[in-house]
């Protein structure tokens, strides 16, 4: 049976949202390959992960949880070994997420399988039986169309792009205990950022600030705006303000930071340097707020508001607040 492996992610025993995206992508590939190709969702952990039973909804024919004592937190070497053992049982495609974990794991899987990896893929198609992927390069200033000729083919999907689509399948779940050591690289702990903080790469709404904020303390109003969206928004930053030490590097959007594709991107006090535009131009809707009506950011924005951000942002917070009642 032709199998497409969807490598899912859990943290603290709960499946991460990106897992349903990976299963959705894998389903799309399996259907395009035809021949009754099946999607096997693979979850790794020290025990069953909550949410794994939902993966059938997004098109997994079966959900296999591989458990080992050292698999509770991410175990790079052990996870790679476990996925590769499973892939060798007949997978034609291995799909990972291009998340923090997937970016670490997918290259290890590809190397163990002695094959190539198409990383950070935003679209997949099958033409003449061959699997093709679209992947942004130069931070999205161009797209590469690549053909994957590896057996199996390995790819990682950019988070937030493959919107989970319900495609109910049986999703029969099984748990398989494996005896694979965690490996030489061990996660000693996870330092949580502030409670509930969303990462800019995964948040459905990103509100980014630039030099127009004038000083670090003024990012408070962006945080207030993020708060107004009720926990769905993350605060990002331009390179200029990260380099100035106003905001952590983890928040930087752009070619030397993160490339983001949220549903809504709000650029505030950001002029729109080419390397910043590269990092956010795949956002579904872009709003720009800037005092300079000629700022390049307005060229990519769907909606622009010209003026003083210190007057406009509070008005926006209050209007969003009204919506949410």
């Amino acid at each position: 049976m032709t199998t497409v492996l969807a490598v899912c992610e859990q943290r603290d025993g709960a499946l991460r949202k990106v897992s349903s995206e990976v299963v959705t992508g894998a389903r799309r590939i399996a259907d395009a390959l035809g021949g009754g190709a099946e999607v096997e969702a693979l979850v790794l952990g020290s025990g069953p992960a909550s949410g794994a039973d939902q993966l059938g909804t997004f098109g997994a024919d079966r959900v296999v949880t591989l458990t080992a004592a050292g698999f509770g937190t991410y175990a790079p070497e052990g996870y790679a070994r476990a996925v590769v053992d499973r892939a060798k049982a007949g997978a034609v495609v291995v799909v990972c997420a291009a998340s923090a974990q997937g970016k670490d794991l997918a290259p290890r899987i590809a190397a163990k399988l002695a094959t190539g990896l198409a990383a950070d893929v935003t679209d997949v198609v099958v033409e003449g039986g061959a699997l093709m992927a679209i992947r942004p390069v130069y931070a999205g200033k161009a797209l590469l169309k690549v053909k994957l000729t590896g057996k199996p083919a390995v790819l990682s999907l950019r988070p937030n792009v493959f919107t989970p689509v319900p495609r109910p399948k049986a999703g029969a779940a099984q748990t398989v205990a494996v005896t694979i050591p965690a490996g030489r690289v061990t996660v000693k702990g996870i330092k949580a950022a502030e409670a509930g903080a969303l990462d800019v790469a995964e948040a459905p709404i990103v509100i980014s600030g630039g030099r127009g904020l004038k000083e670090p303390a003024n990012f408070k109003i962006l945080e207030d705006l993020a708060h107004a969206f009720g926990g769905r928004a993350a605060v990002g930053a331009s390179r200029a303000v990260v380099d100035a030490g106003w905001r952590p590097h983890a928040d930087q959007v752009g070619q030397t930071g993160k490339t983001v594709s949220p549903t809504l991107y709000i650029a505030i006090g950001i002029s729109g340097a080419i390397q910043h535009l590269a990092g956010m131009r795949t956002s579904k809707v872009i709003v720009a707020i800037n005092k300079d009506k000629d700022a390049p950011i307005f060229k990519v924005a769907d909606y622009g508001v010209v003026g003083d951000l210190f007057e406009i942002v509070p008005a926006l917070i209050s209007e969003i607040g009204k919506l949410r009642g």
Binding site: S99, M132, Y138, L148, I286, V305
Partner: protein, 250 residues
């Protein structure tokens, strides 16, 4: 400490990307090429580790065309001891092909530490470092924003979504550097002069075909022309209405 740093020559981040006549690569006319910014962090980390150890060697390794010698000289000017260019006609699209060539060169070299940038800002592959680690059977931590090494134990912090993962392994190891790990030095004039005399070995390599074939390099889809909703706070009700009713994102 014997440290290898694998670096890449890339188009500057301010580059306006145009597709070349072949339809599948960058038109490099007028493009400024630089040492990949994440590799700068790797070079700096190597130099600091050697300085801390008080002895050792920092070797920079690049794979690419003859022009990559210039990139290696930049790293030598920062303070690396010698360079190796694995000279090829092109840099492969398949990172595993690159990894195989680099691993073959590094194999048996007695390295304590092999450093990479976490990714190149041109191809966004984010994969050669961990692939080399697999090929050399070394432990590897990727995207490291904070690194301590004590008594042969590596403790590294890497950003994950909304948190920081603290990871340990022992030397020898492969580490890929993220922004935040250090502040790269600028090459001083003295360093630039010294770099001209440092050894740079050029080794032609032939590469295997690989499993990723580039068919086309395309411009990103153009964004639909936007509109200025208005000026100042007075435009906000209209903006929110558009976001709700037209864009349907609220």
């Amino acid at each position: 400490m014997k440290i290898a740093v694998c670096i890449k020559r890339v188009a500057d981040s301010e580059t306006r990307v145009k597709t070349a006549g072949d339809g599948k690569s960058l038109d490099d006319a007028g493009v400024k090429f630089i040492l990949n910014p994440y590799d700068e962090f790797a070079v700096e980390e190597a130099l600091q580790r050697k300085e801390k150890a008080g002895a050792g060697e920092v070797v920079v390794l690049a794979l690419g065309g003859a022009a990559a010698q210039e990139t290696i000289r930049t790293a030598l000017a920062m303070g690396a001891d010698r360079g190796i260019l694995l000279q090829t006609d092109t840099v492969p699209a398949d990172g595993f092909v690159t990894a195989q060539a680099i691993a073959a060169e590094l194999k048996g070299g007695g390295w304590d530490l092999v450093l990479f940038g976490k990714m190149a800002i041109d191809d966004y592959n984010s994969q050669v470092g961990p692939m080399v680690a697999e090929l050399l059977d070394l432990p590897c931590v990727t995207a490291v924003a904070h690194l301590t090494i004590e008594g042969g134990t590596v403790t590294a912090e890497r950003e994950i979504e909304g948190a920081v993962e603290v990871v340990q392994c022992s030397l020898p190891a492969v580490i890929t550097a993220d922004k935040g790990i250090n502040e790269p030095r600028y090459p001083a004039l003295k360093g630039i002069m010294a770099a001209k005399k440092k050894p740079l070995e050029v080794k032609p390599v032939s590469l295997s075909g690989g499993a990723i074939e580039v068919l086309a390099m395309l411009p990103p889809p153009a964004r639909k022309e936007g509109k200025i909703v208005g000026e100042g706070a007075a435009a906000i009700p209209a903006l929110v209405k558009l976001l709700r009713e037209e864009a349907k994102v609220l």
